[in-house]
C-alpha cells in the first residue's frame, strides 16, 4: 500500500514540475516580454517561415537578435510569406523585447521591410 502512495506522489510531483517549469520559460504569450513597445533596425541574416514558429535573425548595432514573428497562421495572415524578405534586407521591427536583459529576442508586433508593413498583431500595435 505504502509503495503505491509513494509511486503516486512521485508521478504527481513530476507532472506538476512538467506543468509549471515551462510556464516560466515559454515564449508563448507576452508574459516573458517587456511591457513597453520598442523599435529596432537591423539587417536580416536568416529567414525562417514555417512551423513551429517563424522567425528572423537580424544583425543590429547592438549585436545579433532573434525576431519571433506571429505563429504560422498569423504570419501568413500578415502577408509575410516565402519571398517577401531575403538575407541582407533591412528591417524595422516594432515589438516587445525579452524582459531578460541578456536574452536577445524581440517578439515582433510589426515588421517593415522594403517599405512594406507586415502586422502580425494588429490589435496590439501602439502608434507613438
Amino acid at each position: 500500500m505504502l509503495t503505491k502512495y509513494i509511486v503516486k506522489s512521485v508521478f504527481s510531483a513530476l507532472l506538476l514540475i512538467l506543468l509549471w517549469l515551462p510556464e516560466a520559460a515559454a515564449h508563448h504569450g507576452w508574459n516573458w516580454t517587456e511591457d513597453q513597445q520598442t523599435e529596432m533596425t537591423g539587417s536580416i541574416t536568416e529567414v525562417y517561415i514555417g512551423p513551429p514558429h517563424p522567425r528572423l535573425m537580424i544583425e543590429t548595432d547592438v549585436g545579433r537578435w532573434q525576431v519571433d514573428l506571429g505563429n504560422p497562421r498569423q504570419t501568413k495572415a500578415a502577408g509575410f510569406v516565402e519571398g517577401e524578405a531575403k538575407v541582407g534586407d533591412q528591417v524595422l521591427i516594432r515589438g516587445h523585447r525579452s524582459a531578460k536583459q541578456d536574452e536577445r529576442i524581440i517578439k515582433a508586433v510589426r515588421a517593415t521591410i522594403n517599405n512594406k508593413q507586415y502586422t502580425f498583431y494588429p490589435n496590439l500595435l501602439r502608434e507613438d
Binding site: T3, L18, P22, H27, I49, P52, R73, K76
Partner: protein, 158 residues
C-alpha cells in the same frame, strides 16, 4: 558527413511541403505524441511490473505484449520525429535539449538491446520471475524514458 546529410533533409520536397502546410506539422506532432504515449505507457507499465511495484498480471504474457506495443510506438515516434526534424535540421542540431534527447535515446535503445539479448529475458518469457539484473534494467528504462520526454519537451524552451 552525417551532418551534411541531415542538413540536406530540409531541402526535400516533403520538408518543404511541411513548412507550407497549415495542417501537416500539427498532425505530425499529434502522431509523435501518440507514438510516445504508446511507447512510454506500455514500457513504464512493464518496468513497474518487473520491479514488482505493480503486482497484477503474468510477466510471461505481459512482457511480449507490452514490449511489442512499445516497439510500435517507438516506430511511430521515430518516423514522425524524423519528419518534424526535417523542417529545420540546422536549428535542432544547434539545440542542446535536442542533442541531450538524442544521447538519452541512444542509451535507452542500448538498454533495450541489452535486455533482449539477456538469457534472463528468455527465462522471463518462459515463466521465470525476474532477477536483480532485469529489475535494474527496468529502473534504468523508467529513468531514461522520463528523461527523454522531459528533454524533448525542453527543445521549445531553450
Amino acid at each position: 558527413m552525417p551532418e551534411t546529410w541531415l542538413l540536406s533533409l530540409s531541402e526535400s520536397a516533403l520538408a518543404s511541403a511541411l513548412r507550407q502546410s497549415a495542417i501537416g506539422y500539427p498532425l505530425l506532432s499529434s502522431a509523435h505524441i501518440l507514438g510516445l504515449s504508446l511507447l512510454v505507457g506500455s514500457i513504464v507499465t512493464l518496468d513497474l511490473r518487473l520491479l514488482n511495484i505493480v503486482k497484477r498480471g503474468r510477466l510471461s504474457e505481459l512482457a511480449p505484449l507490452l514490449s511489442r506495443v512499445a516497439a510500435g510506438g517507438l516506430l511511430l515516434a521515430a518516423v514522425s520525429g524524423l519528419l518534424l526534424f526535417s523542417v529545420q535540421p540546422a536549428h535542432y542540431l544547434g539545440n542542446n535539449a535536442f542533442l541531450l534527447k538524442l544521447v538519452l535515446l541512444s542509451l535507452a535503445l542500448i538498454n533495450v538491446a541489452i535486455v533482449h539479448s539477456l538469457p534472463a529475458w528468455r527465462l522471463l518469457l518462459a515463466g521465470q520471475p525476474p532477477g536483480l539484473l532485469l529489475k535494474f534494467t527496468a529502473a534504468v528504462s523508467i529513468i531514461l524514458w522520463l528523461a527523454i520526454i522531459t528533454a524533448g519537451r525542453w527543445i521549445a524552451f531553450v
